[in-house]
């Protein structure tokens, strides 16, 4: 039935997701710069607002007011389309993510599949960005992103599969409800958890696997030619994608909104920002590996171990 309530709900979820994306980007960029600073004996932003909290807002205003430059030989429609293709899927991917038993924009019985499928579109956006601007560094970055997706996506799916076997559902909400009955899946799947952590670092193009961007090798990789608002769309997409990946990680392995004392959304946010902090910790600790090292790591280590992990889980479950 379509009523005032369902339409209000839809509008509220759109508003909520937009708010989450915006506030998250503002907060996470500030947080990342703070973490990076303190890990290098610096302070990070301190000037704009209390403890530099408004630094990202100032940066955003600067980016919005900057000119968008189109390279002369760029393929204009592709050039414009690429950041949009990067950003839109992550908005949709937030739809099925439950922040508590009731705080969810849209319950889908295949929410997990939807998020995985939309994650693939992000690479498409990077690829188009690399192609569209007719720049060799951008193209190199884009083709690296594609080589990367082939290396991590299979281990990623293979370490999600045991979770699906354990939970017996693709719905993100029900996966958490199953964990309410038993315990966090990270305890059943420590190896899968570890591989998932590595795979989401690869998936979100974060250091030590930031080949598509690789600022010391490829200028700025796929967004070399982007400026102003279009560049910030890529930035927004990257940080929102980190949020989605962290949310999925906390739902699959750490029991989503479950936890004592605090209400659900608080626990969910704590877990999400724990994963985000972990990814920042990786970034500011490990140097970037070489592309061939990443590929052989993906194919020779991640893939066999995740496959073994899946087979053992399936075998144990069949035996019990």
């Amino acid at each position: 039935m379509i009523t005032e309530i369902s339409i209000m709900r839809t509008l509220l979820s759109i508003l909520g997701i937009t708010l989450v994306v915006g506030v998250n980007a503002i907060f996470v960029v500030w947080f990342e710069r703070k973490v990076a600073g303190h890990m290098q004996y610096r302070l990070g932003p301190t000037e704009v607002g209390p403890a530099g909290l408004l630094q990202t807002v100032a940066d955003g205003l600067k980016l919005v007011s900057k000119q968008i430059i189109f390279p002369q030989s760029a393929d204009k429609p592709i050039f414009i389309l690429a950041p949009i293709i990067c950003l839109v899927p992550v908005f949709i991917a937030l739809l099925p993510v439950p922040f508590s038993a009731t705080w969810q924009a849209h319950e889908l019985d295949m929410g997990l599949l939807l998020v995985i499928a939309l994650g693939l579109l992000n690479t498409l956006g990077i690829l188009l960005a690399g192609w569209g601007c007719d720049n060799k560094y951008a193209l190199l970055g884009a083709s690296r992103a594609v080589a990367q997706i082939l290396a991590y996506k299979i281990p990623l799916l293979l370490c999600i599969l045991p979770i699906i076997l354990l939970a017996g559902t693709f719905s993100l909400r029900e996966i958490v409800l199953v964990q309410e009955q038993s315990t966090w899946f990270a305890l059943y799947q420590p190896v899968g958890f570890l591989i998932y952590l590595i795979a989401i670092t690869l998936e979100t193009n974060r250091s030590p696997f930031d080949f598509a961007e690789a600022e010391s090798e490829l200028v700025a990789g796929f967004h070399t030619e982007y400026s102003g608002m279009m560049f910030s769309l890529f930035f927004l997409a990257e940080y929102t994608y980190m949020l989605v990946a962290s949310a999925i990680a906390s739902i699959l392995f750490l029991g989503g909104w479950l936890g004592p004392f605090f209400p659900g959304p608080v626990w969910m946010l704590i877990k999400i920002y724990f994963f985000l902090f972990l990814m920042m910790w990786f970034r500011w600790t490990f140097p970037r590996v070489r592309v061939d090292q990443m590929l052989s790591f993906g194919w020779k280590i991640l893939l066999p171990i995740s496959l073994l992990n899946f087979l053992i889980t399936a075998g144990v479950m069949a035996a019990l």
């Binding site: 599949l113 939309l118 693939l120």
Partner: protein, 170 residues
């Protein structure tokens, strides 16, 4: 305010938009002189087909379409494209006499599909269907074809690797 009416309007509007996007994408994929534009047309078409699946009551197929066709197949094509020397700058050759054949095949396929659908019952708008039989059929009734296709893919991968290895040795 009549919300049912309103929702149906939005439904029809987005369905039409998807159809338009699909046809535009298909034309772009076939007619464009630039290989990258062809690729984008293909992606557009595949995504709109996924949208149609969603509208026709099978979100599972829609998600799978995005995952397999857009995510895997298109990315593989794109990987190939980014390794090619020139991405169609000199333009593609017109097909000539051979160009007559595809329309006939297309028409024949369209005819057979329409013929197959002709004695079905039409419904107003689709209900969400239960998709679990798909999995059960794939691993039950159609297990053999399913496995044969997997073996075919494995053979193809091994073949590709061996071709690459032979070329590297020479």
């Amino acid at each position: 305010m009549n919300f049912e009416r309103f929702a149906l309007d939005i439904y029809a509007l987005s369905f039409t938009a998807l159809l338009v996007q699909m046809v535009v994408g298909a034309i772009l994929a076939v007619r464009s002189q630039n290989l990258v534009h062809c690729f984008i047309g293909l992606v557009m078409t595949l995504i709109s087909v996924a949208g149609l699946y969603y509208f026709l009551g099978s979100p599972l197929l829609a998600v799978m379409q995005v995952m397999i066709y857009v995510g895997a197949v298109c990315v593989a094509i794109a990987f190939g494209l980014s390794l090619t020397h020139k991405t169609g700058e000199e333009g593609l050759q017109a097909p000539g006499l051979r160009g007559i054949v595809p329309p006939f095949i297309t028409l024949a396929m369209l005819g057979s599909v329409l013929l197959g659908l002709s004695n079905r019952k039409w419904v107003g708008y689709p209900q969400k269907i239960d998709e679990s039989p798909i999995g059960q059929m794939l691993l039950g009734e159609y297990l053999l074809p399913f496995e044969v296709i997997s073996i075919l893919l494995t053979v193809a991968v091994i073949g590709a690797i061996s071709i690459a290895l032979i070329r590297r040795r020479n």
